[in-house]
Subunit: 218 residues, 2 copies
Amino acid sequence: MTPRTDPRVARSRATVLRATLDLVAERGIPATTVEAVAERSGVAKTTIYRQWPDRAALVLDAFDTTLDPPTDPDTGTLRDDLVHLLTGLAHALTTGPAAALMPALVDAAQRDPVFAALHRREADRRHRVVLDAITRGIARGELPADTDPADVLDLLAGPLFHRRLISAPELTTDFAHRVVDLVLRAHTTPAPGRPEGQVRPWPIGRGNTVRDADAPRT
Amino acid sequence: MTPRTDPRVARSRATVLRATLDLVAERGIPATTVEAVAERSGVAKTTIYRQWPDRAALVLDAFDTTLDPPTDPDTGTLRDDLVHLLTGLAHALTTGPAAALMPALVDAAQRDPVFAALHRREADRRHRVVLDAITRGIARGELPADTDPADVLDLLAGPLFHRRLISAPELTTDFAHRVVDLVLRAHTTPAPGRPEGQVRPWPIGRGNTVRDADAPRT
DNA sequence: ACGATACGCTACGGATGCGTAGCGAAGATG
DNA sequence: CATCTTCGCTACGCATCCGTAGCGTATCGT
């Protein structure tokens, strides 16, 4: 495959996609016009239309070629895996292109079926590695056998998104550590109403440095 | 104040704001054009411009007059307060106008300082009632004294947002119950590294009907 | 009943964006 | 070196939207 090796197309394509992502992050998807992409990238508008049929295809392609899932740490411990993944998420949500791209994608997914499919697909790819880590943890007995990995995923990632996008713009790695700590603690504690799984009285002794000294602003 | 009592302005204003919100929910903020609002509302475009200086003011006013914070349940128990608030949030995020409005507002807040201020202000109003409930719970001893209410808020609301907007579109009240259950359990469990607060061996016996039988799709 | 006010309507001028066509120049390929 | 492809550029036609002006009509306040 890929008999297309003309360096001109590859170069213009890469330049245009880069500029498109920058503009989406800065001004949002609807304001990312083809003419703005042409101006910023230095590539002529007609050249852009030679490689993409319309504006939607360009923006979609830009998202498509940039989002990539995190790497599976597989440290051997569920806690370390989750800390690794969650601090990585916290980092991606504060710095990195995803910081401004994610809200745009979520918003677009609410209305455009094409973006919804893209969003779903990329979220699945990202979540797979987290779900795998959780599943391994269950297999090792670090979580009860009846734990729903999907629940744990939302419990873990949700607070980071919420803090970043809704409650407070400050998102620290400390918070990611606390979230992992609390979610694991909740699941390794016998439930009040339901018969408990294995109880495992805390095999986790990591010094987790819970220093919370932030303004408790909402 | 409010010496404006002309029923004509009140009527056109209400009609236009309603149509504006509908359009924002359907097509997003940037696609909510004044002409589209005029067409849908039946109010002439010139009339719209008589009450709002420009498009931004109209959209902003539409958000402003619609978002309202939840009511404080104050049931006497932290758990019941949180279940009430969280199921209310789950309901608002699935049905109701906020379902489609929230992503648009979050996205707009990332780029437009005016929308950022609105978002921050409305989020604060919403969060205040939750933080109050948490603070009352701490005062009653239902949570350790060193609990950070802002952390608990993100732990509670985050998973609902995440499930609704990112992982899976299905958001049930069951999930809200489970989140409250787990977050409370985590905080009323002695931490491994830190001296525990009061332990209170479960004053909660509510039959919370934890029936999880969903496809563990991400 | 009668001024005052808000309304709907038509018609603008200006701007911006979409997507296309044609042409000469520059670079790639063999 | 000769050919083929891509590129940049200018110039469109079409559509949409912004925000404003003017005018006649319906409605409100008194």
